[in-house]
């Protein structure tokens, strides 16, 4: 789904939509139900290199944005809250 850049989206909605994207790439089903701002995508969800690329691709399509892999590093990417921040900044960067 492509989302317009002018309509703000609640962070909780971004998390919810990201959870759906993440679900196929997370092996531990229990952990997906507890996803929140402080979830660590790498240590809590066990995302690997290919999982990361899939999630970036999924988020780009879901939110109609473009994320440069080069901007990412494990410290900033790993916390759900940070990923939400990256998505927000892309959604509203032209506003």
């Amino acid at each position: 789904m492509n989302t317009g850049k002018t309509e703000p989206i609640e962070r909780s909605e971004i998390i919810e939509r990201l959870s759906e994207i993440l679900e196929p790439w997370v092996s531990d089903t229990d952990s997906i139900e507890k996803i929140g701002e402080h979830t660590n995508l790498i240590t809590d969800l066990g995302l690997d290199s290919i999982g990361v690329l899939q999630v970036i691709l999924g988020a780009e399509k879901e939110f109609g944005i473009s994320i440069d892999e080069q901007e990412l590093e494990s410290e900033t990417f790993s916390l759900m809250g940070n990923l939400v921040g990256i998505i927000e900044s892309k959604l509203y960067e032209n506003n």
Binding site: E23, W25, S27, G46, L47, D48, E69, S74, S78
Partner: protein, 509 residues
Amino acid sequence: MRIIDLLTRSAAARPKTTAIVDRDFKLSYGRMFEAVETLASRLTAAGCKSGVRVAIALGNSAEYLVSFFAISAAGGTIVGLSARMTPSEVARLVERAGVSIVITSKAYAKRLADSLDTAGSITMLLVQYETGGKLDIEAAASGPPRRIDERNCDVALMVPTSGTTGRPKIVMLTDNQLISNLAVYRLLMGFGSRNVVYCALSFHHIYCICAQILTHVSLADTFVVSDTPFFIKDFAKSVERRRLTATAFVPYMAILLADFAEPQQFDLKSLKYVTLSGARTPVSIYRTLTNKYPWVNFINTYGMSEAGSRISIASPFPSRFPPGSVGSPMPGVNVKIVDDEGTDLPFEHRGQILVKSSGVMKGYYQQADLTAQTIVDGWLRTGDLGKLDEKGNLYILGRTKDVIITGGENVCPQEIEESLIEHPGISEAAVVGQKDRLLGEVPVAFIVANSRGEKLSQADIVKFCKAKLSSHKIPRFIRFVRKLPKLGSSKIDRNALRKMAGNSHSLMS
């Protein structure tokens, strides 16, 4: 000589040199050797000896490296697995390889509990470095070792490679096969002393085991271990912070480094050696790398689990090799190109690559027929298509097998297909590779649903797969079709599917 001897020598020569940097934890060669001896005696107490198989189900960590050498020290056979595999994959391989002891972490053991029947038959050791630098070893389950397989007591390492679910192929390698051309490899690479080595590849890959673990332990070099997904910015920071000198990449990592827009923001000048293997790195990417980072030796190399140690290398003087080639065969390794009938082909002719060397595997575990088809008159049939030029440079041009290489990982499409058809709503499934700029290929599934699967969605199928398969094996694209193209009555026409895959739409759309 055995694997453990490489560490013993380095620990004796350089006890104070840092062997491993794992996050902020450092371990010297002396301390690493002590930990290996401690774990080896626990393994011996648990029944480990020649012929007993011990699996490592850990992520990349100091604990993994200690376990790897401890198994060799206790005389056992290393079965290299990974915590990146799903518990059901690990359990299947533990069973298939006749493993008696599993070394893992507390967190992974919890996940493994549902898949692995530890009641009475498996010993499980949980290892973890404590804050003070002491290796904590806890026995979580214990059972008597399985009956020793006398014919394979000389096997040092068992490497699962792509295969079907029911019969995953497990390559057996002896110490000699693994170490056979280690000294020559070191010489050709021109490694100086005091290397700081970044490990981005999973420790269970033969490429990582030969080109990194065995090579750099024998040089008493320092390993910087990473268990996080590969981010190019993390790598650049690590080069600057740790003064990294060497690393080993698969193509998608090389592509990210070639695309890296901000190299000038980091001091990357310490980096001297980057080996490229796992699949062919595109020539355009290779050229970008050498132009952008002229102080780094980017070295194409070729190897596979069945060949044990490395087959070919574009070193010394990598610039003298044509960028599309994987170098020339290592001394002691014979390479020839043959046609479908097995007849030798002259230079510049495309055919199957055959390899003969002292590194070629002992065979596939419990698959004598397959071994006999794969090693014929001492020549290993690699399944890769290639050519030799008149200077003896080797080029990889494709594959004769259906194997999909995604992000440097080999995936057997039949394994994914077998998992898919376990779904009650799926009557037939076929998987092929589709080209992907970053990962090389990604798996694409074609599915014929039955009446119970009329309402199946792509998401349902992905969810179903994830319980069984590692993330790189989960189809990235799924297409529902009324029937599969066949050659004759039953054989799936994979070429037709590959053409159709070009039109697949993304799961994420």
